[in-house]
Amino acid sequence: MAFTRRLLGHGVGLRTKHFAELLAAPPPVDWVEAISENFMTPGGRPVAVLEKVRRDVPVVLHGVALSIGSTDPLSEPYLDQLAALAHRVEPAWISDHLCWGSHGGRYAHDLWPLPYTEEALRHVVARVQHAQERLGRQILLENVSSYVAFRASEMPEWEFLAEVARRADCGILLDVNNVYVSARNHGFDPERYLAGVPADRIGQVHLAGHSDRGAYLLDTHDGEVAPAVWDLYRETVRRTGAVSTLVEWDDRVPPLERLVEESRRARAVEAELLAPGRRVA
């Protein structure tokens, strides 16, 4: 059982606000991440833009509705649609979140954290294996930001994530901002989280902005990456070496140029750390 990291470089999310620019010229980044559910339609502008962008640069699919941790049955129609989209787009990889968001046939359209128990672990692992068989490929699972923790949890989140990846033989999409937000909200050391995640399973990194609501941090994706998150990204790259990195900016979306600037900053951080003579653990 192994996971092979593919290096795409530095990318940004494909967002409606930038569609006109992306139809007019190739994206000024190495690759683009598309939210899977936004493109599971037979036609329309989003599909046209995705097909155009796919001709220009590699695309990865990032889902928000797989609900891999839910006790509801996995949605087979959803997996069919995802498989069909993957067949059409040929993404470099497919990712979703280590969370749940549906119960009793009702979808919350949110990324709810799991209780980190052995029972939940076995449940998630079986479902990841099923999804991977259906899609014919390894998937990557992203750690979510959270505001609640379950009293029933038997292990820290990073241990749960590492065990899911090991037992299901899947990859990890490490959202560094989510690590930071959850660390602040639950009072754990974010570097301890990074140390607990197997670096060789990390296939992609997310960076994003968050908002300080006083008593807690909210994962808002509506601004630039915070200094503390850049520090954590440096620590991540020290552990992983070069890793495909994407900046998410989903609310109050800036002009494409500003988003690309944030992505270039990530590239510069990585280049500085991986310059010849710098040793990476």
Partner: protein
Amino acid sequence: MTRLVELQAAFHALATRAPSPPLAAEAFLVGSRELSAAERAGIYADMYGWRLADALREDYPKLASLLGDARFLALAGAYARAHPPDRPDLGQHGRHLPRFLRRLPAPERADLGDLAALEWARAEVFFEAPATAAAHASLAALGPAAFPDTSIVLVPALRVLALDHDVAALWRRLEAGEAAGAAVAAPTAVVVWRAGLDVFHAVVELDEARALRLARAGRPVSAICAAFADREDPAAAAFAALASWLDEGWVAAFRLPAAPGERA
């Protein structure tokens, strides 16, 4: 599995503000000095409401602008309680809103359901499959003998709406930022379609709408023409309508009747 199921049921109830949650937040969630377990669950409950309201606002921008933020949020909340999302695609959440508005026991405006129907049709055709429109030449090529029995295949990105109010005029006023008085109550037919990547709609005569629905149902040209029976010259009206359908790109193909012994 029992424990995980129970925890998810309890959290789902709190995060969607269900009326009778099986467990209090403190019973199964960790609180802290800064933020109690209930306050933490409340963060998710707030996000649930906002997210669903945002999804509705995206599909119903004119309705949202007509109602204003507070009334639209209240409507979104009432709608979510009546129709909690049941599909992985958040874009499908709003599909029951026109019917929900029409069935409200005491609606503040009778035309809101029709306005919502128009907006939902516009959202639907935006995502429909593309199709190549048939050319006028393909009509000419049919020949007069086969014509009456030929059926017309309409493009997927086309909807024919039967409404009780002229909400097309209301939509236009909202688009222009003008005062949105009530829409005129009158049977109104509206066609919504996509050309390239742009969505359009237009009011059509009621008999033409009937003809389009017959075409959609796969009826032959002879039956479609009968929809114009009340016109002074039904054949000319039918032909003019068909020509305009071709002009607008609403026709994907003409299907000739199957020959005897041939599989249709």
